[in-house]
Every structure is written in C-alpha cells, then in structure tokens.
Symmetry: C2
C-alpha cells in the first residue's frame, strides 16, 4: 500500500542512493574512514572507494590519507565533508530573527540575530531584516566557497511545496509567500526550503541533539503557544498537506479557557505563555520576557509564581501523556520556553505524565530538554537546506550547474 515503494529501481537509482548514504554519513558523523563507511553502509570496500572518489570529484568530500599507525594492513583513507560547502539558514521566530552560515560538517561558521517587537510585521519588513542578517553571515565566507541551499524556519504552518506560510497567528500572517519573498531578496540560485519551527527543532535534535539515533520522537516547542514536531519510524509526520503536528490544539480540558483558535480547552491554553501569565493583570507585563520572569521567580521561591508553574507543569505532563499514548515515542524533547520551564516544574510534569500514560508506552519513554535549546529550529533549517544535496548529491549539483 506504499506508493513510493511501487516504483521499480534502476541501476542508476541504486548508485545515487549509495552516494547519498555515504554523504549523509560524513555529514552527520564527521570524518569517517573507508572501513567505518563499509561497516555503516554494508557496501564493500571497493564500492565505497569508487563512490567516495565520485563525491570528492564533485567537491563534496575530501579524501585524506591517514597518519600511519605502524600496524600491518592497508591504511584506510579518511573521508571528510568538504570545508567550503555551506548552506544559509534563517529562523523567523516571534521575538527573534536569526541567520547562520552552516558548513557541510554541521558547524556554524557565522551567525547573526536581531530582536523584533511583536507587532505583526509585514513579510516585506521581515525579509528585509533577514536579508541584512544573511548578508552579514555570508560576507566572510571564503572565496570559492559554495552555497548549496537556503533553509528557513518559521513559527507557523507551512505549505512545503511552495514555501507559503498558511497561518502564523503569532506573526499575524495568513497565506504569506515567505519562500518566494526570501528567494527574491537573497537572489541565490539554489534550492529554498521552508519548514515549521517545531518540525525543524525535531530534525535538529535527531541529527545533532538529544534525540540522536532515535526513530520515534516528539519535540515540543513552547513559544507563544505550543508547537509539535513529530517523527515516527524515522520520518517526519507531515500529514496529507504538511499541517500535521498541531498538538497545541488538542482539547484536554473541555471546560477550560477559550483558545485564540476559537475552541475551548486546547492544550496550549494550559501550557502556553499566557498560562504562565494568567495571574498577571497588566497587559504591559506580557511576552516572552515576562513568562521567563515567572519561571525565574518560581525557582527563587515566589509562592504565587510557584503555584502557576506547578499548574502549568501538571498540564504539560497530562498533554505529554496523551502524546505518549498516541505515539509511543522513545523521547519527548522539550524546546523553547519549555526548555526553561522543565527543570523548575519537573516533579509536577512527571506526575501529570504518570497520571495519563499507559504502562507499555510509559516504560520506554524518556523526557529530555532540548540540547540545542533556542537554536534548534535554526539548526534544523540548515539540515533542511542540505537535504536536496544529501538526498541526491550529483543530481543536486547537475541541477545547479544547468
């Protein structure tokens, strides 16, 4: 019943698949000896040699003779990701815009950010700002370095096919063509890819964070509301239109507060920024900074703040329990504001989880804060930007050259 599996495979497809496998290995794990690649891929050593040479000829890896260890046997060439291949990543958050130049080895070569007020900025304004940030991070790229893609993370639902932001309540955007505006401004002749911030946070944590090696992951992004980036059996949960993962809008408390989506009792009404600020009366004390202040106050023993944080912690646990029952993940990663909240509310979160989680999925799940913290969506955008190259290394280069 899997359409993708229906297609027969040709020789050429097998070769391209194997090139991709090797490039992904050095991209994710760094320099690898041919012996290590042989072991990781199941391909034989001479095939690895041929494929690595092809990647080297394309300028994607370098092959380095190892320092002799004095032992017997042939030395194993080491395959390294090329130093001068990079992507540009940007992140459109509610409060912060950021950009980075990221190498094929996953290292951030340059990074730049600016704060912005919550004032429903136009796409023109946002793209102008992003453009300046990108100019900065690209300015000191070495001569001859090659940009192979642009990836963008945005706090909203995204139509993958054309980079249209369908809905971002926090930016006040409905059907905003961010992908097109960004490519118009940057003018780089490379593939552009947009993704939802929580989806990209999950991708980053799986590639280089606390969910490395996991196949079933729930990443929760606490921003103004609550986003979910979910991976099942190693694949991102996209849904039929790319809108899956709206876990903030699961009704958990039917008699609870009205949500800005219109429904009553959505999970994010109990654990979003506003839930932390429910006892704050002045409209001037809102926003991310105010929410972080409540968490700090609770940590320092303020009783009212403690009560609020405990309540939010409990509901966070209940909603996590729901997702554990649905997805049976190996790990639930807490990102954004939840990264700061969890250490303070850990006990109540775990009580909430325990009250809801069934035994079998509860036995295997681990709760963890995001290792990449607020940088997760940006790093995920970089991974997204590398994906066309890594999925089909030679095809991507041919396409760019043409």
């Amino acid at each position: 019943v899997v359409t993708a599996a229906r297609a027969g495979r040709t020789q050429e497809e097998v070769r391209r698949h194997n090139l991709s496998t090797i490039l992904r290995e050095v991209h994710e794990r760094g320099a690898r000896s041919r012996a290590q690649l042989t072991e990781a891929t199941g391909l034989n050593r001479s095939t690895i040699g041929v494929l690595a040479s092809e990647l080297a000829a394309a300028g994607l890896v370098r092959e380095v003779a190892p320092v002799a260890k004095g032992g017997a046997g042939r030395p194993s060439f080491v395959v390294r990701p090329a130093k001068d291949v990079y992507v540009v990543a940007v992140d459109v958050g509610v409060d912060v815009l950021s950009a980075a130049r990221v190498g094929l080895d996953g290292a951030v070569r340059a990074q730049s950010r600016m704060l912005q007020r919550r004032s429903n900025p136009s796409v023109t304004t946002v793209v102008k700002r992003l453009g300046r940030l990108v100019d900065e991070v690209v300015a000191d790229a070495p001569a001859g370095a090659t940009c192979v893609g642009v990836g963008a993370s945005v706090c909203g639902t995204v139509r993958i096919s054309d980079g249209m932001v369908r809905l971002s309540p926090n930016l006040g955007w409905v059907d905003v063509p961010l992908g097109r505006a960004l490519s118009d401004r940057l003018g780089l002749q490379v593939p552009y890819a947009l993704g939802n911030d929580a989806d990209l946070g999950a991708l980053a944590e799986m590639t280089r964070g606390t969910a490395r090696g996991c196949q079933d992951v729930v990443y929760l992004s606490g921003e103004v509301g609550l986003g979910g980036g979910i991976v099942t059996s190693g694949r991102p949960l996209g849904g039929s239109g790319g809108y899956a993962g709206e876990v903030g809008h699961v009704i958990v408390n039917a008699k609870g507060r009205r949500c800005r989506c219109g429904a009553r009792g959505c999970w994010e009404t109990e654990v979003g920024e506003d839930a932390l600020l429910a006892h704050v009366e002045s409209d001037r004390e809102r926003g991310r900074g105010a929410a972080e202040a409540v968490i700090r106050a609770a940590a320092e023993g303020d009783r009212q703040a403690r009560k609020v944080v405990d309540r939010v912690g409990w509901w966070l646990g209940v909603g996590i329990g729901n997702l554990v029952n649905i997805f049976n993940p190996e790990v639930v990663v807490l990102g954004g504001l939840l990264h700061d909240l969890y250490p303070i509310a850990q006990h109540r979160v775990q009580e909430g989880v325990a009250a809801v989680t069934l035994q079998a999925p509860g036995e295997v799940v681990r709760l963890s804060v995001s290792e990449l913290a607020s940088g997760a969506p940006l790093m995920g955008a970089a991974e997204l930007a590398f994906e066309p190259l890594i999925a089909d290394p030679l095809g991507a280069l041919e396409h760019q050259a043409s």
Copy 2:
C-alpha cells in the same frame, strides 16, 4: 537520519524489490496486463516479462494470453494472482471469534465465526475455539493449495516481534503468548503474524476499503473502548515498541469520568460502549447488544436514547478534531460500533469536529464509515499474513521450503 535508508543496495536486492512490486500490484488490484504493470511500476516491458515469469515459475501468478481484440500490435499478457495460494486469518474480538481462508487475490474463500461471552477466556480456550474455526475454513481447500501465512487480529496491544499480547483489558489478558499458542495449535509451518485490531482495520480499509489510495489515515475502532489504527505517509504508526495509537486514552475532558485505565477523562469514557449505556442502570443490560439497542432506539425517536447518542456524537467529533489537528489525515474511518453510530449522530459529530479542527487540516479531511464494517480486522489480518510473501516473494518461498 533514517537508519533503514543507510544501507547500500545490491543488485539482488533490487531484483527482489521489483518482484515484490509486481506481486503487490496484482494482489491489490487483481489481474493486470503487462502494459498496465509497466505503467504502474516504471519498469520496462521486457523486465516486467522476466519478473512475471519468475513469479509464475514460483507458482505465485499465472500468465494468460489475452483474447485477441482484433487490433494491431502485440497482445499484452495478463498476469493473475495464483488461485491456490492462500492465508489463514483469525480475529479475536471481545464478543466474536472468527476465521477465514483468503486467496492471494483478496477474495474470502471460506469464513467461520462463533460468539463468545465476555468472561475473560483463557488463551487455551480461545485458541481451542480458533483451532476449530480454522479447521473448518481449511477443510475444503482444494488439493494442492498452499497456505503461505497465518495472520491474527486481537483487541489489545501486541508485541509484534513475538506475538505476545501485552494488554487486552477486554479479554482480561496481560502478557499472553497468543502467537505461540496459535502456532502450536495450528501446526502450519508458515510465518505467523499478530496485530492490533484497529491497526489491521486501517490496513484493510487502505487495501480494499474506503481508504484505498490514501496515505494518511486514521481508523477508529469502537469496541468496548476505542482503538486507533493510524497510517502516516503510507506507513502504519507503530511507535518505538509497537504500542502507538492508543487514542482512546487521550484526556479530553479532565473533569470527566474515571477511565478503567485509571486516568480521568479519557476519550473512551465519553464515546465507548459504556458512554452509550451511561443512563442504563441495570448491569444486565450491558455489552455490545445493549449499546446497539441504544443506537437503534435513537434512530427510532426515543428521546433519552437520542440525548445519549447526541452527547456521544459530540465527543466523538471533538476527539476526531484532536486527531485531525495532530495527523492532518485524508480520511477518518469509523469502524466497529462507530460504524453504526455515525449515521445516527452524524450532525453532532460534525459539529464537534468543526468546533475543534483548525482550518488547514479541516479543509482536506473526509469522514467515512468503514466499508468492510465488522470484517475489517479479519481482512487486515489476512493482509498481514500475506505481507512476508509479498515483501519478498522468492525469499519467503525459499524460507518455507528449507
């Protein structure tokens, strides 16, 4: 980040993959001409010819010269699934045990069933009963017909690796080795596979029911409680241990009823059998029959029954909305008791869905009753039983012969 994609592919793997593609095509769609197979698989006509001959030599398909249409050009051989290859499927429901002999073309050749009381039957009792049912459906198989697998559906969480039923509240089972007991009783030297009834219901609806051709499917099975069989991007949602899909235990009404799992406000407390019987006081009027009677009474205008059905319908809609926001499916299929409930409560269900569903995923989703109705899990068990053969036709046969 996909482990399965890391492995390099060899020639032999490509050939096996292509054989699988062709066999799956004729299994799911029936007799196909070589021209149709060429179109469906993207392989060229001579490759199709070679592969079809291999499958024919293995006894899995027959190649039939078509009746000449009188036109020009070569006639296209028709490839049919072999008539004498079958699987045995069984379904362990709460109230009904059933067995079927199902051909490679998907047709039920023989079927048998028996009612059982809800009295926490032992696995020995259940397997003894299943054994008799299987004996009946196998008895009139043609001489020389080959059984290639046994598939079993069970109303509980299943450890796929060894067919252990981890938990079935409705049978009163905890860690019951149904797979082993079944293979001991039946004694057939073929692969055995167990699955959860809702997962198999989803599989059946996607292969031969209302979700044909869909890649993102939520199948809801209303039995005593509520099970979910979920498919995302064409793949069943299994989770890290095979326990995913426990949608009945999503907290939707935190101040609601206590669930038998111990939590308060699980979705199934609002839409399960007991919710339909909430107004019935006598313990003697419980069970599936009583729940069906409430639905019938509502349809016939009984006011109290109508009220109950409306309430359950609303909560069914709310929970469906939750799942639509999480999964962005193409279709939500209502099976089991919900198959009967939906036509009566349709209006309220849709109101609940509309109150919760976000716009983007709401635009694309379709609600549908199960086409295979109560037979869906059994038909899914048959598909599960065919899977090893179809995934690797020659490998499966070699394995059986050895």
